[in-house]
Structures are given as C-alpha cells and as structure tokens.
Subunit: 276 residues, 2 copies
C-alpha cells in the first residue's frame, strides 16, 4: 500500500463513520475531563461490529468473516483487527475459535458479564455484603406483589415443580442453594420486568461469587434451615395462587429479612464485597 499511514487512517475513519448523522455515534468522544479522545482503529471496528449486532443484523451463533476478509473490509492490519476482537470478547459479544472453520462467532452476553463490571465498581466503592442483601429486600417484595396479579396457572405449576425439586435435594447443600437461588430468579422473571429481573440476577450472581470465594463449610443446622425455606416457599406460592398480593409481599419481605439476618450473622455485616 503506497498511501501514507495518515491517509490510510483518514480513509478508515471515513469508511467506518459514514453515518455521522447518528447522534449516538461515539466517535471522538469526550472524556470526563473534557479532553477529546481520538478513537483508535480497534475501537472503531469494535463499534461497527457491535452496532450490527445490537441492531439485529447479526444474530447469536452467526459467524463473522475470517480475519483476512475483515482486514480487507475495514482496511486495517491484522493487529488492529485482533485488538478489536479482544474488545468484543471482553464485552462477551463474540467468541473466537481457531482452526479450520474457526473464527469469530456472535455470542449473546449474559448476566455474568454485566455483573462482573458492576462487581468491580461496587468493590471499589466499598459496598458491603449487607447492602447487597438490603437491595434485594427492597426490590423483590414489591415484585412479588405484582406477580400475584399477573401469574398464570402455568407459573404456579413451574414454581411448585421447583419447590418439589428443592425438597428432594434438601440434604445436598450445593444443589439446594442453586435451586433456592433459581426460585428467587424465577419469581422475579415471572413478574415480567426484564430490567429488574436482570438487576436481581446480577445481585444474586455477586452474592454467589462472594460465597464461593469465602465459604466452603456447611452449617450444622443446614437441614433444618432448608426445611423452613421449603415451607415458606410453599406458603408463598399458595398466597400467590390466591392472588393475594399484599400478603405475598409481606411474606416474602419477612422471609428475605430472615435469611438476610442468618447469612449476615454468619459472614459479618460489614464484610466488604469481594469478587476478585
């Protein structure tokens, strides 16, 4: 290529940003301190691909063209393209496999990704385990109230199936714990607010991450606690079945405060959240 590097850069920038009317376009973005930041080639490529993805041009599982083709398409070197890949991998938007028929494939980001970035933020800001639970105690009960109004018979059946599964695994600590967590998430999802379901999912995820790092032992009275849990879950579903939102909310708030107190008493109220 005989162009000077500057010309090439200019060309790429031009090619990538040919939709300057889009107000949301994040080229030449400003940093908090007001200084302008010249976007790097890799960032522009990542942004272009990300846009295709979010706007639906690319679906999960779709394969991106091999590096050689993308290099030609974006007029960049392999190094820059690969840096863009690392960015998109970090955002869990692609996965790259090597070998024949390898290459980058679109993946849907999951809760893990988001909760990781939030986790770092919370840890830096000194959030405590107590706050994490308080947040859930505030968010979940009102959702249960809503759920009592919108639940279908199939929802009830699913919830009861899950409770039966809990009861069947009452002695297997890890299985029971993940089932109980899933019960929470299921309730929240059924309430129908995708946003809050996601938030609760992330809080769960953070709590579990913390747990896995610091707790390996079991409680002596675990079995008894688990039985209580199952009983409360059954009671809750019955009230939801009766469409008694207010009672359901009260029950759930009480139940969550109970388990919050048990867990915090064991782990320590002011334990700083630690996910790394």
């Amino acid at each position: 290529m005989s162009d000077s590097a500057a010309a090439v850069v200019a060309k790429v920038r031009g090619a990538l940003l040919k939709t300057p009317a889009k107000v949301g376009g994040a080229s030449a973005s400003r940093r908090p301190d007001g200084a302008i930041r010249v976007p790097k080639a890799a960032e522009l490529i990542a942004e272009a691909i990300r846009r295709r993805l979010v706007q639906g041009d690319l679906k999960a599982g779709d394969a991106l063209p091999p590096e050689v083709e993308l290099m030609a398409e974006f007029h960049v070197s392999r190094a820059s393209l690969r840096e863009a890949f690392r960015i998109l991998e970090t955002e869990s938007l692609i996965e790259v496999k090597r070998g024949a028929h390898g290459g980058a494939r679109i993946t849907l980001p999951d809760v893990d990704t988001a909760s990781k970035s939030i986790g770092v933020l919370l840890q830096i800001r000194g959030a405590t385990l107590k706050e994490l639970f308080d947040a859930r105690v505030i968010i979940e009960p009102p959702l249960i109230n809503i759920l009592a109004g919108v639940r279908t018979d199939q929802d009830l059946a699913e919830l009861r199936d899950l409770i039966d599964f809990e009861a069947a695994n009452i002695d297997d600590w890890t299985v029971f714990a993940s089932a109980a967590t899933e019960f929470h998430n299921l309730l929240v999802r059924m309430a129908g607010n995708v946003t809050l379901a996601l938030i609760v999912g992330m809080l769960d995820e953070l709590y579990l991450r913390h747990l896995k790092r610091f707790v390996s032992r079991n409680r002596p009275d675990q079995r008894e606690l688990n039985q209580q849990t199952v009983a409360i879950h059954r009671q809750l579903v019955d009230v939801i079945a009766a469409r008694d939102g207010a009672s359901a909310e009260t029950i759930w708030r009480y139940a969550m405060q109970q388990s919050r107190n048990v867990i915090l008493a064991e782990l320590g109220e002011d334990t700083p959240l630690a996910v790394y």
Copy 2:
C-alpha cells in the same frame, strides 16, 4: 530467542499463573458449554494487571511501565501486550496516552462502563422504556423512607440548595433536566446504600442515553411541569425534614408515577430501550 514458541508460551503461562492457590483465579476457565478454553496471552496479562489493581497494589492515576518494559516483564510480543491494553481499556481500568510521558495509567471505572454493558443486555432482551421507569418507581420510594430516618441537617441543606438551583434554571431545559436527575441521585446516595445508589445511577444513565438519542424537542408546557416538579421536591424535603418516612415514601412514589406517565405518554409505553 531460540526456544520454540510452545516453550515460550508455557513459560509465560507459568510466570503469569504462579499463584495457583487463589481460588478466584480464572485461568483455563470453562465456557458455559463445559468446553475448556485456553486463555490467550493477552487475557492472562490483563488478568495479572487487573488483579494488582483490585487488590490495591495499583491506585488510580498510577502509571504502568512503558510497553517495552511490560513486554520484557511478561515475555510477550508487543501485539499481545497491546491486545491486553485494549481489554483493560474496555473495562475502563486503564487509559493509554501517547507521546512522551504517556503510557497506560490506572483509572477507576465509572457508572458509564457498567451501564453500557447492562444497556446492551437490556436491549437484547427487549426491555422497554416502561420497565426502566417501573424499576425506578419500585426502588426509589423505599429508599426515601429510609432516608427520612437517617438524614442529617447537612443533607437537608444540600437538597434545598439543589432545589433552589432548579428553580433558578426553570426555563433552561437541559440544565433543569440534569439538575432534576441529580436530585434523584442525591436522594438515593444519601439513603446510604451504595449498591442501590449505583443501580439507580445506571438506570438514570440509560434513560438519559435513550433520551439524547430520540428527543430533541421541548414540550409546550415544559415550564409549568418544571414548576410542579420544584414544588414537589420542596414538599418532599419538608417531610423528610420532619422524619416522616411513610409520607415521604408516598409522596415520592406518587411523584415518580406522575412523571413516569407524562414521559411514557410522550415517548410511547412499549418503546424498546435503545442505547446504541
């Protein structure tokens, strides 16, 4: 270097992962489908630096050594190192400047970063604007109740200062909007739950991003609405001053539902959230 590439890779892996006892260590991680994934050099470097950062060996503003030194330290090529930089940049953990005395500097991630990853997730899952507001209507009022119990006189003073500022800028749409948003955030922060403050901050951020993309026009009755807003804010602070948590919660819930209805009527209830 006369080693085969395989030997070099092995050496690097060994050097980077010399703390295998750390349970949190994410080398050779498993993907959801159970397949094991060989971590790339860039990921290992990013992880090593990230760990130093989160554990406090590196503070915000600290400069990392120049690329040449890091290449030597990690025994990797410049390409791999730079891919690692892109990963860390994506996570908002470093910022790279060029020129003399440039290089990578540690930065603290901010709400933007987290809300971006959540935004993608929400958009993909088809969250609507309505849900975003419903989430805030659920989360904020209980926090106001708490705030009424813990508020200090200085908190009241700050809130009233902010309201005065709102009143003074009642005709400047953008200034008023950001002041009103800050009022929300201030309330939530004062309630003392870092986790929920962060979550509300992210929801705000997402709403504002959406707004900036799609709304440029003003309402004809904006001035009147803003005056109502100021009146309600004053009323709220008075009730908080009286430590009347229940009333404060009720007032705030009502106020938020009002503004939710106004905004949704204008933008459309089922508008899918669009942040890109």
